[in-house]
Amino acid sequence: MSETIEKKSVQNFISKIANKDYSDAQTALQDAVAEKIKTKIRNYVSQEK
């Protein structure tokens, strides 16, 4: 589930770049990075449990 969200955010970032929409691409990149860090945290929390 989290992996799908992560992939979608990366896909969104690529599509913004492809459409030369650079201002939205920056936000999309931030979202993608945030999703990746969230995944890291989720993985750590699930390992702890």
């Binding site: 992560e6 990366v10 690529i14 993608a32 990746k36 945290i41």
Partner: protein, 321 residues
């Protein structure tokens, strides 16, 4: 009845057989010729008539045939045209349908190929960029750091919960406790202020005391010393603490003695040199004058010391500690 027979009966005894035959032949010839002429004329007329009749008939026949044929051809052409048009339409429709279906197939095939390829390319691109971002994030924000941050946040939450349970949090402190705490804080503050003032006064008094003690100690130690030594020692140890004076007094006096002895040696060397020069020269008064004149003053304390030496009428200094 035959013409020859008629002539024979009429002219039986008058003409011979030969003449009869000749007349008969001539008559026959003439009749035949005439008949032929008339027959020819009649034939010509009949032929002309027939020709005209036939011409008119033929004309009408040709016209009727022509009209009939024209109509028939017209019909035939129309029929053929219609038939060909129908056939062409059918062929066109069929070709159109065939080409349309083929084009449709080609479009479907290429669309399928394009979509599949685009899909695979997109997924590959997303995977590769995602992997690169993972690697970069691992480099910039290591997993250990993230784990540590999570642990910190978790610990902070636990600590906050413990605080709430124990009641250290200000929200759980009631007004009386708060008032008592404020009162206590004020008392502590005022006491701290008084203590600071007392400490300040104490420090000041100690400082003054130290100053007085140091002055007294310095005076008691240097009262036996000559003025130059007193001034030298006073300059160096003035304003210092009694302990410092106690520790360093002897060293300063020794330093002064060493300096004086060095200057004395220098002065002796100078006097000896002048005496040697004076022996070689005829005039001795100048030498006496030079000897009686004071030595070059390097420092005010040293000059003062040399004056003291003159007063004591000796070249050696006796120091009492």
């Amino acid at each position: 009845m035959d013409f020859k027979q008629i002539l024979k009966e009429q002219f039986k005894d008058l003409i011979t057989e030969e003449t009869l035959t000749a007349v008969h032949e001539a008559f026959e010839q003439a009749v035949n010729d005439k008949a032929e002429q008339r027959a020819e004329l009649q034939v010509e007329a009949a032929v002309t008539k027939i020709d005209e009749d036939h011409t008119a008939k033929l004309q009408s026949l040709v016209e009727s045939i022509d009209a009939d044929h024209t109509a028939k051809l017209q019909k035939l052409v129309e029929t053929i045209d219609f038939d060909h048009a129908q056939k062409l339409k059918k062929v066109l429709t069929k070709i159109d349908e065939e080409h349309t279906s083929k084009l449709q197939q080609v479009i479907e095939k290429y669309e399928t190929t394009l979509n599949e390829e685009a899909e695979s390319f997109r997924s590959r691109l997303v995977d590769e960029i995602s992997n690169y971002m993972d690697l970069y994030l691992e480099k910039v924000v290591p997993t250990e750091q993230v784990n540590e941050a999570v642990e910190n946040i978790r610990s902070r939450k636990v600590l906050e919960q413990i605080r709430q349970l124990v009641g250290i949090n200000e929200e759980f402190v009631d007004s009386e406790v708060k008032e008592a705490l404020l009162d206590g804080k004020n008392t502590i503050d005022s006491l701290k202020k008084e203590l600071n003032e007392a400490l300040e006064a104490n420090t000041k008094l100690n400082h003054e005391l130290n100053k007085v003690e140091a002055t007294m100690l310095l005076e008691s130690k240097t009262k036996e010393l000559p003025e130059a030594a007193k001034s030298y020692v006073g300059n160096l140890l003035k304003g210092k603490s009694p302990e410092y004076i106690q520790e360093n007094y002897q060293y300063v006096v020794e330093m002064f003695e060493k300096e004086i002895s060095e200057q004395e040696e220098t002065a002796k060397e100078g006097v000896k040199q002048r005496i040697v020069e004076a022996v070689d020269r005829p005039f001795t008064e100048e030498l006496h004058e030079e000897i009686s004149s004071p030595a070059p003053v390097t420092a005010p304390s040293v000059g003062g010391y040399l004056n003291e030496m003159k007063k004591l009428d000796g070249s050696r200094l006796r120091l009492k500690h």
